[in-house]
């Protein structure tokens, strides 16, 4: 039979020092591992699409046949408004640009803006939320007032206004687009983080930290941050999806990134409106499709994370125990059939 091996000596700690550094994220990881059913499907589908998007964006120069502003190659110009064929799979635009290359480079722009916008708003929103939630008082009042005012604006309008302001400072590049989107998202992080900081501030362990003599900065970094950060990944992925849409909206209105700086899906869609009337479907289909897929990917990821991480949504499943099928009733046939071999009876 099987032998039980007992561990000898003290049991070594299984959690390494590196893992403990990010103790707050430990629960997230374990929750993702436990995901089942629809949330799991959404999570992994979203993750796959998002990963595809990121890979496309990062390796755009290797994947795309031409650069986003190439209009001639091998000594002669690309066809103007050429339909998809062997050399230009997705066709060409009215400016003789390759649609495939522009779509791929568009992913790059979208990723750059998205990452910058999310990082900026994450840093600012979380920081302000922590400060307002922990200190309260006048700082909190003023910040809440400002954030509520920002919330009251329609988000695209706010992004346009911010875009105008920042384009005067930093030009019409990726950073400007990211900054104008940042303004829209800061209040979201601020609200969530402030709310959890407010409740965590009253927790006994924060009180205990004060009783230890910890400075407010230490309390915020070591005691509040880890407990407040739990709700942030979900907003981050949702915002990432939203940022793509906002950026496209800005580009569509001609307010985003200058066409000379980078390829941008919203701008391409804007230019493609006239083509649709002329029966040219390829100039608008591919950038639009790319946008939809990217947004879908991040939304699925965000929703999946929300379902998995949010304790009020999460359903802990009891996995069904599958018993082996009933074996035939064993009949004890003792002395009547003495010639049955013993091995057979055991079966």
């Amino acid at each position: 039979m099987a032998t039980t091996t007992l561990p000898t000596g003290p049991i070594e700690p299984t959690v390494s020092a590196a893992a403990s550094r990010f103790g707050g994220l430990r629960r997230i990881v374990s929750a993702i591992r436990e995901a089942r059913g629809v949330p799991k499907f959404m999570l992994w589908t979203g993750a796959a699409i998002s990963a595809l998007f990121v890979i496309t964006a990062v390796f755009a120069p290797l994947i795309a046949p031409y650069s986003f502003d190439t209009y001639r190659s091998g000594g002669h110009n690309f066809p103007k408004q050429g339909s998809p064929d062997g050399t230009h799979w997705f066709g060409t635009t009215v400016q003789s640009l390759d649609v495939l290359s522009r779509t791929i480079y568009g992913a790059r722009t979208a990723l750059e803006v998205m990452v910058l916008a999310v990082i900026f708003s994450l840093i600012l929103g979380v920081l302000l939320g922590l400060l307002a939630g922990y200190f309260g008082g006048w700082l909190d009042r003023i910040l809440v007032l400002v954030m509520d005012a920002l919330f009251a604006f329609p988000y695209l309008l706010l992004a346009i206004v911010a875009g105008f302001v920042f384009s005067g400072i930093s030009g019409g590049g990726v950073v400007t687009a990211a900054l104008s989107i940042t303004v829209v998202y800061i209040p979201q992080y601020f609200r969530v983080v402030r709310a959890s900081a407010l409740s965590a501030r009253e927790a006994t362990f924060v009180e205990a930290a004060r009783a230890m003599g910890a400075k407010p900065s230490v309390v915020i970094r070591k005691y509040l941050f880890g407990n407040v950060i739990q709700s942030v990944p979900v907003i981050t992925t949702m915002n990432a999806a939203d940022a793509i849409g906002t950026l496209a909206g800005l580009g569509f209105l001609g307010l985003g990134i200058q066409p000379t700086e980078a390829a941008e899906w919203g701008y391409d869609l804007d230019r493609a409106i006239d083509d649709v009337n002329a029966g040219m479907w390829w100039t608008c289909l591919y950038p639009g499709l790319a946008m939809v897929i990217a947004i879908l990917g991040f939304t699925l990821l965000g929703e999946g994370l929300n379902d998995v991480l949010n304790p009020t949504m999460r359903r802990r499943r009891i996995s069904k125990v599958l018993l082996p099928a009933h074996t035939r009733r064993r009949t004890v046939t003792a002395p009547a059939l003495p010639d049955v071999p013993e091995g057979e009876a055991a079966k």
């Binding site: 003290p10 049991i11 070594e12 700690p13 299984t14 959690v15 390494s16 020092a17 403990s20 103790g23 707050g24 430990r26 927790a203 006994t204 362990f205 009180e207 205990a208 930290a209 004060r210 009783a211 230890m212 003599g213 910890a214 400075k215 230490v218 070591k222 005691y223 880890g226 407990n227």
Partner: protein, 451 residues
């Protein structure tokens, strides 16, 4: 632990009494402002204050274990927190080694926090769930820059964990609070509290959230730590049995004041204040054969925002005297209790004698003019009250309320009831036992005529 206290002496005995004064509180008050209704909230006007701690004098000697005992809402936790500067005192002073800590701000207190530590009631909530034991227990070392390098840090943490009995320490270093049991968490909290070598440890009901089986172990651990590390404890509890086991001296608190304060053995053997007697009587007796008839205090602990006049305990006290501070509110309580017991029709008939019983609910009315109900004269009301008094004088146990009524007469169409002038009982020392008690019944004769 919730057993009738045994006769054996308390934990460390009276030997620790000789220590130098470590913390001295004089006239300590902590009042929390109340916001009133909706309008008050908008205008920011305070609607009175809760007197959580209301004039307390204490001397805590080095090596002493002081128990603060009282019901919920008696201000014992607030007092404990104020002693180490976690809650701001609104009046009075606390001197720690000659330094007044009530005058220090948060910033000035920070260096002292190392010496004045606290253990909270709920071990589950007092550890950061996102921090492993290695970081959590050693954090005071980092905060106060007590270690030079990581090796020393690790050694100190391991030493602290060993001291509190979390052995082998290596097994616990990487664990998170969620992985530990309640008793283990409280041990970790204790390790965190002692790691920076404090002098004073305020333990706020450290065992009340734990299983019965680990309570005694944690208390014994705290006594061991005290012996090894030369600690002084303030032990806040509502559990008299554990206080008897653990404390050298004990302060019984009621509504923000100390009513009895003295060596544990004396307080338990010979309780002076009626409230202490009642508390001791409330300890359940495991043997029903030996159970004594008890006189538990009537009613609930009063609202600390509107404390009774005089001795705060008088509305619940079975032996209260005239000077205890009787007032109109007590008459209302008396009437309402009576009407509750009567048949509804009889109660309604008696109630109709009074125009407005609620008017008696006002605070601090030493003389009250009662308006008679429709169709009744003040004489009817007086007649009724006198009848009540006569009834009460025959009943056993005697209702102490009527001792406080000086006169009852009719005046301007109202029945006026006048109560004896209230007097605040002050803590006064009983020479023979060293117990201080705040009760009119125990005052030395000389001071009774005073004030």
């Amino acid at each position: 632990m919730l057993t009738k206290p045994d006769i054996e002496p308390s934990g460390e005995g009276a030997a620790a009494e000789v220590g130098e004064p470590l913390v001295e509180a004089t006239g300590l008050e902590v009042h929390f402002g109340l916001r009133g209704g909706l309008l008050g909230r908008f205008s920011g006007k305070a609607a009175g204050a809760v007197r959580a701690v209301d004039g307390i004098d204490l001397t805590l000697r080095k090596g002493e274990v002081l128990g603060l005992v009282g019901e919920s809402g008696s201000g014992k936790t607030t007092l404990g927190r104020t002693l180490i500067g976690l809650t701001k005192a609104t009046a009075g002073s606390i001197s720690y080694r000659g330094q007044d800590i009530t005058e220090l701000g948060e910033r000035g207190l920070r260096p002292l926090r190392r010496r004045l530590q606290m253990v909270f009631q709920d071990p589950h909530a007092s550890l950061n769930p996102a921090m492993d034991i290695r970081t959590a227990v050693g954090h005071p070392l980092r905060i106060h820059n007590l270690v030079a390098d990581d090796q020393e840090y690790e050694a100190r943490v391991v030493d602290a964990l060993e001291r509190v009995g979390l052995t082998p320490p290596e097994r616990y270093l990487g664990k998170f609070p969620g992985d530990l049991s309640g008793g283990q968490k409280q041990r970790a909290v204790l390790a965190r509290a002692i790691i920076a070598e404090p002098e004073l440890l305020v333990a706020d009901e450290p065992i009340s959230m734990l299983d019965m089986s680990v309570r005694a172990k944690i208390l014994q651990l705290m006594l061991d730590l005290k012996r090894d590390l030369d600690l002084t404890y303030v032990y806040v509890t509502h559990d008299l049995a554990s206080a008897k086991f653990f404390c050298d001296s004990i302060a019984i608190m009621y509504l923000g004041r100390i009513v009895e304060y003295g060596p544990t053995a004396q307080v338990f053997a010979n309780p002076q204040h009626p409230y202490t007697e009642a508390l001791l009587a409330a300890i359940p007796e495991p043997d029903p054969e030996r159970a004594l008839p008890r006189e538990l205090p009537r009613g609930e602990i009063p609202d600390a925002a509107r404390p009774p006049m005089g001795c705060a305990f008088h509305p619940r006290c079975p032996v209260a005297v005239a000077a205890c501070g009787w007032e109109a509110r007590d008459l209302r309580t008396l009437l309402e209790n009576r009407w509750l017991e009567l048949a509804p029709e009889a109660a309604a008939r008696e109630k109709s004698l009074f125009a407005d019983v609620e008017s008696l609910a006002a605070e601090s009315l030493s003389t009250v003019a009662i308006a008679p109900g429709r169709g009744h004269t003040p004489e009817d009301v007086l007649e009724y009250l006198r009848h009540l008094r006569e009834e009460a004088s025959e009943a056993e146990p005697r209702e102490p309320f009527w001792r406080g009524v000086v006169t009852m007469h009719a005046e301007n169409g109202r029945a006026v009831v006048e109560f004896a002038p209230p007097r605040d009982p002050r803590l006064s020392l009983i020479q023979a036992t060293g117990v201080q008690v705040a009760c009119h019944l125990r005052e030395p004769v000389a001071s009774t005529t005073g004030t």
